[in-house]
């Protein structure tokens, strides 16, 4: 028995595993074809085209789609990203600090802003002037949008940075300290630059998330020159009583987000090779 070559033993029902695999795959294809035929037959293509792909409506959103809406989306996203990058790094350093209260403050901040819905933060920014009379976020609508996105993004970015800082080997700090660098100098010269390099891929993903969240600026009640892609699509759709602008706005998001996603995964691959 022991020296008998192990051949494919007949499986249940007398079918070989390979045969069963073929049948299973065949069934999957049949289900797919049936579903596609059903969609093709029952969908009201004329009405769909009228409502979601009306070319003259799409054309009317140009050039503002790019010159105003996309531009603003990028302003909110980049502004919020810079804000969250700086605050996130600060929070991560506090989170890893030797001083207890700094750690607690960072933990509380991170837990709150990761635990709350982004929409709620934006609503708070809208209602802040009620609580603090006379208070105004500098930069108007841009400032409010960037503040909201930055506050939320910082909580996530802080955790990204923390992982990066902790991933720098202890020997790096020891080498820097043994050369006479102070603890702060070693962090700035040796640890933080390496941590930032390591977190470039997750940070790119963070930026994509922030770019999508910039649609929440909608709830700040923006208008005119401040509208970003989602609000722009919504306004145009209402104006024409047609959903095409929403589709157009969606495609515009994807034009930016998909390449960034690919970039992030490529950077991830490169990191694996160099370290």
């Amino acid at each position: 028995m022991a020296d008998q070559p192990k051949t494919a033993e007949p499986a249940r029902g007398g079918l070989s595993p390979r045969k069963r695999q073929q049948i299973s795959r065949g069934i999957q294809y049949v289900v797919l074809v049936v579903a596609l035929v059903a969609v093709a037959l029952f969908a009201d293509w004329g009405s769909l085209a009228q409502n979601f792909a009306k070319l003259d409506v799409a054309r009317e959103s140009l050039p503002e789609l790019f010159t105003v809406a996309l531009r603003n989306t990028i302003i909110y996203a980049v502004g919020g990203f810079v804000f969250s990058f700086v605050l996130g790094l600060l929070l991560a350093l506090m989170r890893l600090s030797q001083v207890g209260p700094y750690r607690w403050i960072a933990i509380i901040y991170i837990e709150i802003f990761r635990g709350l819905p982004a929409l709620l933060i934006f609503l708070m920014i809208v209602f802040m002037p009620l609580a603090l009379s006379g208070f105004e976020v500098p930069g108007g609508t841009y400032g409010q949008g960037i503040l909201g996105l930055g506050l939320i993004g910082a909580a996530y970015q802080a955790e990204v940075f923390r992982a990066g800082l902790q991933a720098v080997p202890k020997g790096q700090t020891e080498a820097a300290r043994s050369l006479g660098m102070s603890a702060t100098r070693a962090q700035i010269t040796v640890v933080i630059p390496q941590a930032i390099r390591m977190v470039i891929p997750p940070t790119t993903n963070q930026f994509v998330a922030l770019l999508k969240d910039s649609s929440l600026v909608f709830f700040l009640g923006v208008s005119g020159q401040y509208v970003e892609l989602a609000k722009f699509g919504n306004d145009q759709a209402s104006q024409h009583a047609n959903a095409t602008p929403i589709l157009v706005a969606g495609i515009t998001y994807l034009i930016v987000t998909i390449p960034l996603g690919y970039l992030a995964s490529r950077l991830e691959g490169r990191k694996g090779r160099t370290r």
Partner: protein
């Protein structure tokens, strides 16, 4: 005469584990002292206490007459004069070899970029890797990385050098290059405290060999005595294992 290094009743404990159990050791200027012993004997911890990478639990550390264990000592200032070379090299991976050797000169000694670069190139040349100035550590062999690390320490003009198993992470054929550099340093009169498993190096280059086991110094003397004619059974057993690993 002031000792280059003086350790008095040095103790170090990690939790329940007492790694150093009262070490007294001196190294005089210009001396090369090799510390040998089985793994876990506390040799690396001892070395790391000399520049206070580990804070001793008890006892005193003097370097050139300055008590480092005194809380008022500016440890960063003291460390500038103590070069350290690690088993894992610990080069900064985001900087080229040249930048690795320049950075502390600029940031710590406040040398100008031009001066730092001249000194860096001199030292890289001295350790035989001047052709690798613009390479990143990841592009260098272990032996080259370790020599860059030695150059990085030398560029600070240290008064003494600590070596923590500098060849233990190297492929066997690369060990010689690093030992040659260390031998050259010794000949130039550098004060060196070296934790090593290289018995040939210890025998030929060291002025003294210290055998440690179980957190204490078991034997301390000239190489011919400690390696050639050990007085303690523990030393003999260890040396026999190291020199005849197949038996």
């Amino acid at each position: 005469m002031t000792h280059a290094i003086e350790l008095q009743d040095l103790h170090k404990r990690f939790g329940q584990n007492e790694v150093l159990k009262g070490i007294d050791l001196t190294v005089d200027p210009g001396q090369v002292v090799c510390v040998i012993g089985p793994s876990g004997s506390g040799k690396s911890t001892l070395l790391r206490c000399v520049n206070l990478l580990e804070q001793p639990t008890k006892g005193k550390v003097y370097v050139q007459g300055v008590e480092l264990t005194d809380r008022d000592v500016d440890i960063d200032a003291v460390r500038r004069h103590i070069g350290m070379v690690f088993q894992q090299f610990n080069l900064f991976p985001h900087m080229t070899a040249l930048q690795n050797v320049m950075i502390a000169q600029q940031r710590v000694l406040k040398r100008s970029k031009t001066d730092a670069e001249v000194i860096a190139r001199e030292n890289l040349d001295k350790v035989g890797v001047s052709d690798k100035c613009d390479s990143l550590p990841g592009q260098l062999s272990g032996g080259q990385q370790q020599r860059v690390a030695i150059a990085r320490a030398l560029a600070m003009n240290p008064d003494l050098m600590l070596f923590d198993e500098p060849t233990s992470a190297l492929d066997p054929e690369l060990v010689g290059d690093v030992l040659t550099v260390m031998r050259k340093l010794a000949e130039e009169g550098m004060t060196m405290l070296v934790v090593t498993h290289e018995m040939g190096f210890a025998r030929q280059v060291a002025d003294r060999v210290v055998f440690m086991d179980g957190g204490v110094v078991v034997e301390d003397g000239v190489p011919a005595q400690v390696i050639g004619d050990p007085q303690h059974e523990r030393t003999r057993t260890f040396l026999h294992r190291v020199l005849h690993p197949e038996e």
